[in-house]
Symmetry: D4
Subunit: 155 residues, 8 copies
C-alpha cells in the first residue's frame, strides 16, 4: 500500500526534509509546494512578463503555484499542514480547508501557542501533532501498524 502525502505550509524550517528522511524506509511518496520563497513569489512574472501592480504580480504567481498545489492535494491520501511560529500562513489554512472538502486525511502540525487560533482547523483533522517525529510515527503506523517503543497504554 503506497501512501501519497502532500506536505503543505511553513517553508522556513527543514521539517519536510526531516519527515522525508525519517520515512525513507516506508512506501510513501511525498509532494510539496515549491519551497524556494523567491521563486514562489516571482514565478508568474518571471515566465509570463512583469506587472506594474503588486496585486497582479502576486496574482500571476499564486495562480501558477496553484497548478502544483492542486495536483499535489488532489493526488494525496494524506495532507500534512504545518503552521510555523511566524507569519499569517493563510495559504496553509486555505490548503487545509481545500483538502478537507475533498475528503483527504488531514494531519496538522503546530506548537501549543497556536492551539486556540487553529481550533477549527484541528477539528477537521484526523491527527494533531507538534513534531516531524510524530508525523513519521503516524506514517509508519498507518503503513505497517508499528508503534514507537515506549507506549502510553490506557490502563
Amino acid at each position: 500500500m503506497t501512501i501519497r502525502v502532500y506536505l503543505s505550509g511553513e517553508i522556513h524550517t527543514d521539517w519536510r526534509e526531516q519527515i522525508i528522511k525519517g520515512a525513507s524506509d516506508l512506501d510513501v511518496h511525498f509532494a510539496s509546494p515549491v519551497t524556494d520563497h523567491d521563486a514562489s513569489d516571482d514565478c508568474g512574472v518571471s515566465i509570463m512578463g512583469a506587472e506594474t501592480e503588486k496585486f497582479w504580480h502576486d496574482n500571476k504567481g499564486a495562480k501558477l503555484n496553484a497548478i502544483r498545489t492542486r495536483k499535489g492535494i488532489a493526488d494525496a491520501d494524506i495532507v500534512v499542514v504545518r503552521f510555523g511560529e511566524k507569519y499569517k500562513q493563510w495559504n496553509a489554512a486555505f490548503d487545509a480547508g481545500y483538502a478537507a472538502a475533498l475528503g483527504k486525511s488531514l494531519v496538522i502540525m503546530h506548537g501549543a501557542d497556536h492551539q486556540h487560533a487553529l481550533k477549527e482547523v484541528d477539528a477537521a483533522a484526523l491527527a494533531v501533532t507538534e513534531t516531524p517525529e510524530q508525523v513519521i510515527q503516524i506514517l509508519r503506523y498507518v503503513q505497517d501498524g508499528t508503534l514507537p517503543r515506549e507506549r502510553a497504554g490506557y490502563d
Copy 2:
C-alpha cells in the same frame, strides 16, 4: 434567481449587517456562522459537558460550529470571506479553501495591507474587495445587471 450567500470570517465589526441591509431589496438569502464570540467558543462544553483540557474544550466547540458552517457553505452560491485587521483568522482561510474545493464563487474582502499574505486566497476568488459597499454592488450586479452610477469605463 434567488442567490444564496454565506458570510464567513471576521466577527468583530458590523460588515455582515451592512451587507444584509444594503442588499435588502434584492432576492438574496444570507447565512452566517454564530457571531457571538463567547457562545461560539463555549457551545460544545455548554451542551455536551465540561472538559479539563483546553484542547478538547475547543475541539468540542469547533466541531459543533462546523455543523452550521458546512451547511452554510454547501448551500451557498457565493461565499464571501472577510479578513479583518487583527487576529490569525485561520478559520476564515480554511472556509475559503473549503468553498473553493466545492466550486463555490468566492468573494474576498480585506484591506490593502493583507494583500501579499492573502495572495493565494485572492487567486482563488472571482472578486477581491475592500468594503461592504462593493460586495453589495457585486450582489446587485450579479442579480439584475445594474452597476453603480459613476463607472470606470476603459476607453
Copy 3:
C-alpha cells in the same frame, strides 16, 4: 435556514418524539425510518409475496426499507444516530457509515457503557451526546446560536 434532520437507530423508546417536540419551535424538518417494528420486518413479503426462507423474507423487507432510509439520509443536513441499551443495532452503525461517506454532519447518541465499542463511530461524528435534550440544544444552537442558560465556560 431550514435544517433537515434524519433520526436513525433505536426504535424502542420515544427519543424521536422527544426531539421533535422539543424542537417544534425551530425551522427543522425531521425524517425517520418506519419505526413500527412488525411493519418494518414484514413489509417486503406483505406487498411482494411470502417467502419460505427467512433470509429472503428479511432481504425483501430490508431492501424496501432502504428506499426510505436512503432518501432520508440523502436529503438530510444532519443525521442523528442513537444506539440504545440492547440489541446489535448494526443497521444504526451502517447508517452512520453511510452518512459519513456522504459528508453529512453526524450526531451520535449513546450511554457511557457503549463508549469504547462505538469509538470509531464517535470519531466520525461532529457531536456525541447522551440525551434527546442535548440534541435539541444542538439543533437550537445550530439554527439560531442560542445556548442553554447554565453554561460551562472555560476560564
Copy 4:
C-alpha cells in the same frame, strides 16, 4: 484485471490469512486495518500523548486508524466485512455503510445466527457468505470465471 480488496471487521480469528493464502495465485491486492488489538487501541496516545479521559484516548486512536481504513476502502474494488461470533462490531457495520455509500461491491461474512440482525447490511451486499473458502471462490470467479468443481445447477 487486478482486483483490490479491503478486509474489514473481526480481528480475533485468522480469516484474513486464510483468504490471502487461498487467493495467492490470483491477481488480487489485499489491504486491512491494523489487526493488533492493543496497537489499534493505543496508537493515538502512543504517538500524540496520553489522555486522562478514556473518551479522548479512544478518540485519538480511532481517528488515527481512520486514516488507514478510509484509504483502504477508497482504494478497494471489493470490501469484505466479517462479523464474528462476539462483540458489538459496530465499526464493521460502519465500514459496510461507508463502503456502500461509495458504491463499492460489498461481500459480507457471518454465521447463521446473525442473519436477522444483519439483514440491512446483507441487503446492501452483492454476496453474503459464511466461510473464507467462499470468499476465495468469489474472488476466483470474479477474476477468471472459474467455479468450484461440484456445482449446484438449477435444472
Copy 5:
C-alpha cells in the same frame, strides 16, 4: 417528505394512470416520458426538419426525448421501470441502468415469464413487482409506513 417518482418503460397500457390515481392521496410527484408513441417517434424531425435516413430520423427524436428522460430520472428519488409483454424495450433497460448508476432507488415491474431475462435488472432493484397495485403499496409504505390489511408475517 415529498417523494419524486419517474415512471419509465412500457407505454401501451394504462399502468401509469393506475399508479398516479392510486397514489393520489400521497405526497408523491410523478414524471414520465412522452407516452404518445407517434409524437415520441417523430418529435425530432417535426421540430428540426425531415431526414432522408431512418437512422437520423430516429436519432433526432431519441435525443430530444432524452432531454425529458434525463431530467425525469435525475430529479427522481425512485425510478419505476415496467417491462410489458411485448417489444424489445431496450430503452426501459437503458433507463434502469442509467438510474442504477446514479444511485436511484429502482422498482422493477414485469410478469413472471420475463424473470430470467431480467435477472440482472432485478438484481439492481430494491423492489421487484408485478402489478401497479404493488407499486402503490410501496409508495404508501415508503411515505407513511402503512401496509395493506392482509399481511404475510413470517412466524
Copy 6:
C-alpha cells in the same frame, strides 16, 4: 415539472426575448448572462476600481460575470447556446463545453454557414436548431409532449 433554462451566447439580437415570450405559458424559468454589453465589459472596474492594463480590466469583469454565468449553468436543466453571425463568440463555446461536462442537456442555435466550424459543439448537443421558434417548440414538447401542427412523420 418546472424546467430551468439558461440562455447563453449572442447578445446582439432579441432571440432571448422571443423565446421567453413564446414560452410564457409554460412552466419554464429562464436565466441569462448580463446582456448589456457595456455593463458586462466594465462591471469589474466599475465596482472594484480601474486598471491601467486592458488585460486586467477585462479579467476583473470576466470573473465577476462568471459568478452569474456559473450559477445560471449549474442551476439549469437545459442550456441553450446561440452563435450569431458575427464575432468570435468563444465565451459561448466555453459555456457549451462547461455545460456539457456537467451533464446538462445542450441545445445549440446557429445558421447553416457555421455548421462545419461548430461540429464538435453540435456533436455534444441533444438538439441543433436555427430559430427561436424551434427552441420554443422544443421546450413545449419537453414539458407537455405537444408538437407543432404540421408534422414531418417518417412513413
Copy 7:
C-alpha cells in the same frame, strides 16, 4: 495512452475474440463479463448454496456477476455493447445505460434490423457500428489516428 475497453453484451459469437485479436498491436486493455453461459447462470448458488426458488437462484448469480461487471465498466474508457440477433439482452441495454450515466464513451454494435428498437441506446453512443472490424478501426483511430486505406471523404 493506454485505452481500457469493456466488451459488454452478446455472448454467443466470437466477436470479443475478433476484436481482441485485431487490436493486439495496440495499447488497449480489454475486460469482459464471464462469457461461459452456464457458469454465469449458476455462479451464485455454486458458491453460496442452492436455492429452491428460481428467482433467488438467478438473483444470487446476477449479483455476483455484477461485482465483475461494475468494476469492468467503472475502469473503462470505452464501453462497447453488442446486441446480437436473438434474445432479450436487457442486461446489455442495462450496461449501456449504466455506462452512459457514468460518462463513459459508448460504442454500440448491432445489425440493421435492430435500428429502430435501439434508437435511444444509439442516441447515447459516440459510435454505432455493425462489425468487429469497425470497432477495431475505431480503437486504432482513437489511439494513433490511423484510418483504414479506402476512405470516404466528403467532397
Copy 8:
C-alpha cells in the same frame, strides 16, 4: 510527480512538437487530439459509412473524435489550449470550458489581438501565455521549481 498534459486547439503550426521537445527531460506525459486535419474530418464516415448530408458526415466524425478528446482531458492534470491566428476554433473554446468544469488546471495560449475576445476563457485559466517556450517554462517550474535565468523580480 508525473504530470499529464493535454494539448488542445490549433492544429496548423508545430506548437505541440515544440512543447513536447522542450519538455523532453521532464516527467510529463502528453496527449493530443488527432491533428491530421483530413483524418479528423473524415474519420466517422471512413469507418462507419458515408453520409449524404454534410451535417451527419461531420457529426459522425466529431463524435468519434470526442472519444479521444474526452479521455485526454479526463486523464490530464493540465489542459493547454492554444488559439491560433485564424479560424473560429470553437472546439478549442469548448474544450477549455469542458476542462474548467472538471476542475483541470487551464493554461491558455494566444496572441495579443485575441485578448478581448478570449477574456472569459482567460479568466478561467491559471496561466495565460503567448509562446510554446512559456508553456515549457511553466511545466518545468510546476515539476521541479526551476525558473528561467533572467527573472523579473518585483522590487
